[in-house]
Symmetry: D2
Subunit: 481 residues, 4 copies
Amino acid sequence: MLADPEFSGLTRDCDMRNVLSARYASPKMNIIWSQEDKIVLERRLWVAVLKAQRMLGLPIFDGDIEDYERTIDTVNLESIDKRERDLRHDVKAKIEEFNALAGHELVHLGMTSRDLTDNIEQVQIMRSLHLVRDRTVALIGRLARRSIEWKDLDICGRTHNVPAQTTTLGKRFSMWLEELLLAFETLEQLIETYPLRGIKGPVGTQQDMLALLGDKKLVGELENIVCAHFDFDRPLISVGQVYPRSLDYQVIAQLAQLASAPANFAKTLRLMAGQQQAGEGFKEGQTGSSAMPHKMNSRTCERIGGFLNILRGHVTMAGGLLGDQWYEGDVSCSIVRRVVLPDAFFAIDGLLEASMTVLDEMGLFEPMIGRELAAELPFLCTTSFLTAATERGTGREVAHRIIKTHATRAVAIVRDGGSSDCLAQSLGGDSDFPLSIEEIRDLIVPDHGNAVDQVELVAQMAEVVLERYPDAVHYRPAPIL
Amino acid sequence: MLADPEFSGLTRDCDMRNVLSARYASPKMNIIWSQEDKIVLERRLWVAVLKAQRMLGLPIFDGDIEDYERTIDTVNLESIDKRERDLRHDVKAKIEEFNALAGHELVHLGMTSRDLTDNIEQVQIMRSLHLVRDRTVALIGRLARRSIEWKDLDICGRTHNVPAQTTTLGKRFSMWLEELLLAFETLEQLIETYPLRGIKGPVGTQQDMLALLGDKKLVGELENIVCAHFDFDRPLISVGQVYPRSLDYQVIAQLAQLASAPANFAKTLRLMAGQQQAGEGFKEGQTGSSAMPHKMNSRTCERIGGFLNILRGHVTMAGGLLGDQWYEGDVSCSIVRRVVLPDAFFAIDGLLEASMTVLDEMGLFEPMIGRELAAELPFLCTTSFLTAATERGTGREVAHRIIKTHATRAVAIVRDGGSSDCLAQSLGGDSDFPLSIEEIRDLIVPDHGNAVDQVELVAQMAEVVLERYPDAVHYRPAPIL
Amino acid sequence: MLADPEFSGLTRDCDMRNVLSARYASPKMNIIWSQEDKIVLERRLWVAVLKAQRMLGLPIFDGDIEDYERTIDTVNLESIDKRERDLRHDVKAKIEEFNALAGHELVHLGMTSRDLTDNIEQVQIMRSLHLVRDRTVALIGRLARRSIEWKDLDICGRTHNVPAQTTTLGKRFSMWLEELLLAFETLEQLIETYPLRGIKGPVGTQQDMLALLGDKKLVGELENIVCAHFDFDRPLISVGQVYPRSLDYQVIAQLAQLASAPANFAKTLRLMAGQQQAGEGFKEGQTGSSAMPHKMNSRTCERIGGFLNILRGHVTMAGGLLGDQWYEGDVSCSIVRRVVLPDAFFAIDGLLEASMTVLDEMGLFEPMIGRELAAELPFLCTTSFLTAATERGTGREVAHRIIKTHATRAVAIVRDGGSSDCLAQSLGGDSDFPLSIEEIRDLIVPDHGNAVDQVELVAQMAEVVLERYPDAVHYRPAPIL
Amino acid sequence: MLADPEFSGLTRDCDMRNVLSARYASPKMNIIWSQEDKIVLERRLWVAVLKAQRMLGLPIFDGDIEDYERTIDTVNLESIDKRERDLRHDVKAKIEEFNALAGHELVHLGMTSRDLTDNIEQVQIMRSLHLVRDRTVALIGRLARRSIEWKDLDICGRTHNVPAQTTTLGKRFSMWLEELLLAFETLEQLIETYPLRGIKGPVGTQQDMLALLGDKKLVGELENIVCAHFDFDRPLISVGQVYPRSLDYQVIAQLAQLASAPANFAKTLRLMAGQQQAGEGFKEGQTGSSAMPHKMNSRTCERIGGFLNILRGHVTMAGGLLGDQWYEGDVSCSIVRRVVLPDAFFAIDGLLEASMTVLDEMGLFEPMIGRELAAELPFLCTTSFLTAATERGTGREVAHRIIKTHATRAVAIVRDGGSSDCLAQSLGGDSDFPLSIEEIRDLIVPDHGNAVDQVELVAQMAEVVLERYPDAVHYRPAPIL
């Protein structure tokens, strides 16, 4: 069987779908990266250049540009593919297709392939960054809402996965929210400063466009028209054949950074689900396991971590583009960018959709949360014992040593089924320790310190962002797979 | 424009094709990873288990299994997708689809999802590994042929990109061939030892199948039947929910290793093209540049490097699966494996196809090779001067210092347009150096040392491989994009 | 303060220690990669070549080689460093140092730098691989012992971090053991097949050694002597300046693969510690937290995961060496290999030491394990209900649906503080379900299926390995930081 | 020999030096990351907190703080190491050492380990970022100077490593300069926005400090004092045990991005060296090859690429920290950060030092540059023929086809030793082409288009940066290895 992979006898088209696109990314992100839309964008660039060229004095006849404009949306992928197979050059194939549709040979004058493709890919990147920004805004809104909702719900805080001190559930969400806000700030800076390559010619000198238009000033004007057409604030000045690929790296690295906060959230929700304290939500009709009917798995949270893992791989791919251009440039990056640019955006889009869904659908099992807090409380308060002891004049490290001895014993007793009150009894009974049993017991109360203020302050920071993008806040993801 | 990505007004299905599959991978690799074929394979596993269960005593009626078998090839992706959207569980969707087609509820008895999916994905991996092995054999054949073809064609060998010593072009190919043979040896070992997870149940204890069949021996027999059905030599013994994901990592890392030799070849061919000594071939009608009609770019060689870069990213993704299973397992790896398994095989497949094509189509410009060798020869022979001087009794390091002084000067003269004979003149005229000008000139001959023997020896090693896989040798890739 | 980093006023040597070496790697691994030992090895290679050259007829006087041998261990790093700063070439510095010590200029005749360094680095790699193999054997022994020790201790198996089915603690260890055995098998193959570059000259043609010795057969003999001297079975045949860097990649990727099983173990132990079911051990006097005296953190387990993360980065570095050699070679890889080769071995060494320590020191809190199993048992048995129901003739998917409905409800009741017996009551009371309450209750027993047999079988596989390396089994790591 | 790695008989300290620190990083960067300086910084933090606590009302006696201050610089690493081996906790060891030196138990009151270590590591990061920024300024200055120096030196521009169009050498440098300026802009933003964790306690709630000081306002004041002490503009608000590790990722990813432009420069210089058009410089006395005395290798440029490769690995390590915190945090990141933070800064520091050195020392071989330009010029002008032909009314794609046919033939003639004038003759003789031989010959002149203006514009952008950091511009790296 292994020797002959065609065994199934099914005749079919071999062309596989992109799994990130088909299963996880939203329709908007799919449109941005669709072949058809890219071709339309490219044709719009050609037409924008043509119009500028006519305006700047090139002898282009009335009606010719209109012949092109009329066919912009007539996208026949098969015909273009066929041309490419003959020419072994994708841009040349697209030129000849567009010319054939319009009945002229006017487009691409004074241009080289990368004048077309680099610019349009940057437009796709910029549009994707805008979409990611908007979705992140919607995620910020949700994290902020959850943090406020549970700002004073005391829980057993854990570090190293073991009980540490009291905190609040809202503060836990606030932690992820602040991490996300940091990444969001960088994302906004990236969008603000991201430059367009512009119309620069094969080695970046603008030689051909200069020859065509005959004047440096006109070349600059043409470039400004193109920038404005695609809503970019600034062109690059001195590129070679391509724009610096470290820009691609910066974009992909930014997406990975953005994924960290939601992935931290998802990982902790998986842990809480294991303690039956929370669940990511379970739709009517959903099946948790094909074998075990009772299972309610955190599969969406697991998937969020998986998206991050994929993005890490994309960072490696984009990292391979750094410092790898020979002379005025090559396209050793071409196949890499064909994969990594759409796929990284599909992955972050899927991750953001999934994160919003979990935040909307997740459930809390408060009795379980309360049970844990009650059981662990004496241990969570050991720093209070320590502070109180030092205030009575015991040296910090001496007190630390005494408490540790009793706490270690008490933990052992609890693990054997004893009550956690044993800690107060044991420690209070130690004559080297300055607090009595009762004084210790009085200190055993949930104390979440400054948590509520922190939550509110971070939520205010979030609010500032939300007000800047009011339309983005109310996005609701479609049901996920 | 950026704010509204739907601007093009084209209505279309958002589902993007997988670019590695559509543009670069061969039809065979595409079939292995197609959705339809996977479903057929899964159904074959279910039927194999059913038959084994009937044979081992489960009360399954005549005709029931046949009802399933009859519909194995009736794959309706839309219907399965619809079920998955309701159930939010892909395997459950497939069970219900197959049951509905057959009119029974018999499949998947005693099984859990991963009994199905893990095994079938391993079958896909194994079939892909076989295909990669066969294509590598075909590549080995080509490299061996080229190495023999040019085994005694003297060229200017370069290290650090500067002329070093004479070697032969065949030896250059032989170098890559031996590197490829090393990776091939590991690939064969991987195929030989790769184990199947087997039917193990939700946490790997085989509890349910044991309950069904009532006897450990029968459970073992059922597993052996499944292994044999898919041509695996051994099952794993003590897995959890899934087989160890370090197996996936091993596979992907192997593919990256395999890519090194062809990528070294491609990189050096790009360099040789820059010196106009060789070219990757240029089809009738092909366009090199949409702007510069004369250009003959090494775009396929650049692409080979790009595939390797992509594989490096896949290694990062698969590396993220190492050591990341909680307890008896989870599917935090699920989305990662959906991407990385097919895509890594598509990438290596595309790389191998492209490498074969370049090896078949490449051309050599011997006059340019000869010109360089003639110009650099005096410098390539400095180690001969060194050896001769030490044989005359001069200390090695003393001789090294003298030669370096004269060689450095000579290089400067040549760079200013002088003749490279100046080296012999200058060095021979130095009274501290034991050789005369004439003796030095006599040493200035191309000397490729042991190169031919090495080429022949490596070609013999390749021959051993080729004889083991006679059917694989003669594969010819389809024309590439 | 930020502007002036020299603020502390301490005068000191800036040279930082290697943290992986200093804090985590064992003395043996440190010795292998020490500068001094490398220099001694290099000098041994030179002397071995000298002896061979004398034996094969070169006119080398009595006593000269002995002058070199006498000073082999006289390693003065400062002197060598000083020479390198003048020459900007490390090997030339080492030649001149050794010559100065011996009072001759005989070494390195017919050789190039990489004849020295590549071979010696391969000797270091091979010795490190042997050490890693031996430590892995010791780890296999420990995992096997633990798996047998707890082979029938029933526990609540978890998938997706939520209770799934009964398994045994021994089987959990057996899972990691089998994963480790798979990686070990590959490691052994690597050691067995790893080839030495040999003495090949600047572009690999052996031109200079051939000129010196005057005969191809003698060149071959010299190479065999060198191989034998360092215990290698085979030399490479047709290299360029360096051996294929994909060999480095293979080694590093192998180390990462090896790290997976211990990291899976460590991650699950962190999870179990969070449930207070197990701990990695806590030394007398150890401090868990400088603030919280009671804390007992799984810091060593966290560190094991950290080592794996570091190794993933090393794989990326080594992956950058794939396909990146120009022509006959360069040393764009040099600085990368200086970092990645020792550091990756230090990391895996530290990981193995840490894993053994945890396996030796870890503790189990059986009452907590028992408590969880009792609480979850009804849910762990749902597949038994499913199997029993299908045996009564209910369709598998119908039964699945019914059980899921009742299980989902029962989970909610338990989370609100109810008893888990509610599942039997609810399901048994459903007239669509073929089993009575009592029948269901009878099925609620821990059933670990085939776990014990699996554990024993894998332990036998381990035993075969242990018997092959009897000396390696009994290694005990020194106390870790 | 392999079995016994202790063979050398040398007794020595196993502790290896950090190769990036010892061989490549500058003294300043080494000081920032030295163990001693870190300890001094930590003690300064403790003392700053103590002073703030006293000021804010805690009963701390006169003279006590001074006892600590007096011993701040008394760093005894051996003593601290010994304590750590006993306590298995590094911070606890440092507390007890400092207390023992001062004779009090006052420091670390109300603090947890990460209040110390996270903040101080951030100070180290911030100081390193400042140093990297200053060095980048010095590199920008050098690239700008070179770009202006050669702004109108015509060269044969290459894309895909083959001749494309005329450009200038200055523009080539300008290309890398603009790429570096883009990364620099992001680096400045990072420095500007990078926040300090602050004093937050074990789970981030500030519970203990609040208990000590008794007032939220005082807690806020203490934190502001600490921020100001270390020159940070803002603290984080709602962290857990640690600051978000995505901040570490952002820093490391930024360093990799910064490395791209110098690595592009270095790679192209390697290529130019292969054509004998430029060299990275060669010191008096330097040895190029231990075998081949004439060799002048681009080893520093190769090393620059190597540093980038290492940084890519560091990005993978730092990427593993994303989304990997459980609950309020753990230190699964600890060992990773111990490696990646100093090493990544050492690598970028080494890369910047090396890049400056090459820019200072590099040489140009103008006759070789001129020779290439003359030989390739007819081909470089094909786009001029294309533009001229379309201006005469020939369709762009028709003209492209005709030129391609003749250019392809002409290339073949040149490769066989013919003159490149054959292109004008052949194309001008084609009656389908609208230009005569003479008209074509007139178009064969070096035309670098807009290159000079571009160079000057980018240099002006650089000048703005240089004026902002006047002290940083004049840095000169020490001689490199």
